[in-house]
Symmetry: C2
Subunit: 540 residues, 2 copies
């Protein structure tokens, strides 16, 4: 395979994953939705072949040559459509609407790092905007084909950069940016190692995307967020190649690695990532508990984090999410828990489900679990067994698929996430929940803590309401703005792991301050003087 042959076409162009994996919303689920958000109008969708998009401008010969020749370029409607959007709600609505105002003029898949670097340089010289593209899983408009001041734009797909080099002595791996999570994981597993990074986007997101957005996996409490795993990066920028020294730790000045991580394609393309890996865990065990309430549950999370006995996975749902999950699961899943447990739960009628998990060598994992259980009991939580934990594990990547079914049914469904210190997190939760309840006209607003630290935790909100048929994007803008303003007012970060993209760029001033914006801009000016790299993202 080479060039454009490597481009992936195995997901629904207007959703997540292959169409056949989209679940059916059963009558029970539909009834639950109707009860909560009222009637909905099934959403329109358009066949791939019927999507209209602007004609593609011609790509100069110099760019084609730099990319490795015609074989590295695709101008097919399908590839241009597939690279015209990510997976955010506005992206999907736009694709379903069947008319794209903007799409890349071509999709370029250079066969090597050198070709990637040469392509970027050629685009800078020709004044062509470049959108780096990995899995296209951005939910914040990170791959939107925003031309800025340029007439032409290409999507630069990293699909050919998929090397895996393992140093088993140091437990390090050098990974190509175009590797999907499962591809990297399979290659590492062959050697007895794991990356241990499993975000919800795991099936399709890429290593380069993880690095460019500082993603966080669902096992992040134990394994580290992606940025904590990276020991070295290579960036191909219009101004040249910048490599950080590969070292376990250094005090040699400001950390340029940390400038590249989270740069979201605006400084250049990440062409190599060196990461810490570890031995595949011998055991993995998940179980579910019930905390007395959300605040009490957060207290348990805090106690675990500050005792040093933090499980590898910890997820605490608020009251509404617990209620909805149980109602949905009651239509199938939690039956295994048994009637006794269900009755016990009724004594925790306002309780919150807390999933915890441990991985590693059996003895160490068992000891950690024992110490964690003590803390959980001391914080008033009760165990409800391993089956709910296993249920969670099985369903952990299903969310995005489910969203497609909900959108079909005419449901507005979106997520956002933030984080704060333990002293401030309840205030942040209440402010955002309240803003979302209002903006969704008392829709479903669910929240969970998914990542815990010694000093604070993240909050992940999922919110649903009846879609405003024909004005979905405007509805989304209103709801999104209300939530972001609440986050900023409460001092939370505008993003814990979804990144900034296009959608959060307006809030970066509040996040980093004017001088902070100027410093990022100064770095960008040096690395990308023509400003071709991913216009309209990160900086307002």
């Amino acid at each position: 395979m080479s060039g454009a042959d490597a481009l992936r076409r195995d997901t629904a162009f207007d959703g997540w994953g292959p169409a056949e994996l989209k679940p059916e919303l059963g009558s029970g689920a539909m009834a639950l939705l109707r009860e909560r958000i009222g009637e909905t109008t099934p959403a329109r969708a358009t066949e791939l072949g019927s999507v209209r998009l602007p004609d593609g401008a011609e790509i100069p010969a110099a760019v084609i040559a730099a990319a490795g020749g015609e074989g590295a370029i695709s101008t097919s409607a399908e590839d241009r459509i597939r690279h015209a959007a990510g997976n955010g709600y506005p992206d999907l609505i736009t694709l379903r609407g069947g008319t794209l105002e903007s799409a890349p003029d071509a999709v370029v898949a250079p066969p090597s790092t050198d070709a990637v670097a040469a392509t970027i340089v050629a685009c800078a010289e020709a004044g062509i905007a470049v959108v780096p593209f990995g899995g296209g899983t951005s939910v914040v408009g990170g791959v939107a084909p925003d031309r800025g001041s340029f007439e032409r734009l290409i999507a630069l797909d990293l699909a050919n950069l998929r090397r895996v080099d393992v140093d088993p002595v140091s437990q390090l791996a050098r990974l190509g940016p175009g590797l999907r999570g499962p591809e990297a994981e399979a290659a590492l597993n062959e050697r007895g190692f794991t990356l241990g990074h499993f975000p919800q986007s795991y099936r399709y997101a890429t290593i380069g995307g993880y690095a460019a957005t500082r993603s966080a996996g669902q096992a992040s409490s134990g394994y580290g967020r992606f940025d904590a795993l990276v020991t070295g990066v290579e960036l191909a920028a219009p101004a040249g190649i910048m490599r950080t020294l590969r070292t376990p730790h250094t005090a040699a000045g400001p950390a340029l690695r940390e400038l590249v991580l989270g740069s979201e394609g605006t400084l250049g393309v990440i062409t190599d990532v060196e990461v810490r890996i570890r031995a595949v865990p011998a055991v993995r065990h998940y179980e579910a508990w019930f905390a007395e309430g959300f605040e009490s549950g957060i207290g348990a999370v805090r106690a675990l984090a500050q005792s040093g006995e933090l499980p590898d996975v910890i997820r605490l749902s608020d009251r509404e999410e617990t209620e909805v999950s149980m109602a949905m699961a009651g239509l199938g899943g939690l039956k295994r828990a048994g009637l006794e447990r269900y009755l016990k739960l009724r004594r925790r009628a306002e309780g919150c489900i807390l999933i915890v998990g441990w991985e590693g060598e059996r003895e160490a994992a068992d000891r950690r679990r024992e110490l964690s259980r003590r803390v959980l009991r001391a914080c008033g939580a009760v165990p409800i067994g391993a089956s709910a934990g296993r249920s969670w594990d099985r369903g952990r990547y299903e969310g995005p698929h489910l969203r497609d079914a909900l959108i079909d049914a005419g449901v507005f469904v979106e997520t956002l996430e933030t984080a704060h210190s333990y002293a401030e997190i309840t205030g942040l939760y209440e402010a955002v929940r309240s803003a979302l309840k209002q903006a969704t006209n008392e829709g479903v607003v669910m929240c969970h803590v998914s990542h815990a630290y010694r000093d604070g935790a993240s909050l992940y909100f999922t919110f649903l309401t009846a879609a405003r048929s024909g004005a979905e994007i405007q509805q989304w803008q209103e709801i999104k703005a209300a939530a972001c303003e609440a986050i900023v007012a409460a001092g939370g970060t505008i993003t814990h792991h979804h990144a900034v993209g296009r959608d959060h760029a307006p809030y970066m001033g509040a996040e980093v301050g004017e001088l902070g914006l100027e410093v990022i801009a100064a770095a960008k000016e040096r690395l990308d003087p023509a400003g071709i790299m991913n216009p309209g993202k990160l900086l307002p």
Copy 2:
């Protein structure tokens, strides 16, 4: 206390700590030295009152006013001398020589963050170079009064910025940059917390210095290097104040916090640091083991790190350091170990001492110790008991004091440190050791691993030889250059925790590449357009 009253004068101006804490080198130690490095000529020293320095230029009224008035300024010879150098070997030799070619024109100690910020702005307008000064403990020329292109220079001492604000719920503290380690620790201990950061410079180095240099404590394996503890920073730059959002984690773009950490005073002055703290450990236990050899010992360190059972303190000395330590201790310390143990050691005649330590709640610490011991035994190490470990703990801050006594005796003594992955660390060790042996004419060259990571470790070299009386600085330059070139050739980092300062700036090109230097310079241009901040440091 306000303004210049806060300036500290409690250490030897030309050495480490108060003169009365300088140890006597007993006849046994002198004999050992003579045997290893030959005869030495006792070094000259000069009384503080006899040190000659250039007259100080006048400081403009605008700067004085910005700093809070005359009370914030000192132009005394003593204060100017105390702020004319750090604690590197060339610094101490120069001070002992009694003639300073360069010294700050004044020492300014603004009483508040606002005054610090105003002082910096006023200096930028007046074209006065600013050297931020905390504990003055830099061993790499980080506080050298290098005027660059400016006629005047002040040392900006942070001694008045010593606030401690504790958030016990989130286990966070906001600390002023002028706090010495023990001051911060005492304030935190009162609330039941600890910072857990104990570099060898602990007695005098400051919080601001830790942040500006990415320092590493001796318990860093467990508690994290200083940069891993920081959740937020505030930087007062000539261009304005830049604050990073205080958050447990964010994906909002490049990490500006990581640009400020390690910036070594070249971008501005760090005026506030938010750090993670933790409960004071209930127990602390250190013990000593003997590994079969250095490479075998590194294997044990690696096994511990990669099993997840890394002790909080781990220090593995090489053969020469073990031999010298035992010879020195045999004159007093290890007697407690007992005759049986000493005999057992003879069966490990080529062995290497490995100090390990655990802190925390008793049960968790015991559990970790048990699992670590298994790993150590499996790697061929034998335990030699807790007393050697306690000896190490008691003596952990004595090194710099001892150095002063050695310099008195006419010994050239210097340290340097680097790091590499486990796959490459032996090659790096051998290359640097060999270069140092040659450059010191077969002097004493000792090394230890002091910080371990999953993927690699640090190497800390201490090397002694007879000082070249009258040409000490030239001798130092030759030896330093030989070692740095060996480090660069072997792919190690030029500094694991001492920072870049003036001495390592020539090697930054090799460390971060030309484009990397340009990016740091671009950030500096935006924050410090006039280039007044700590000229001659970090960037070549």
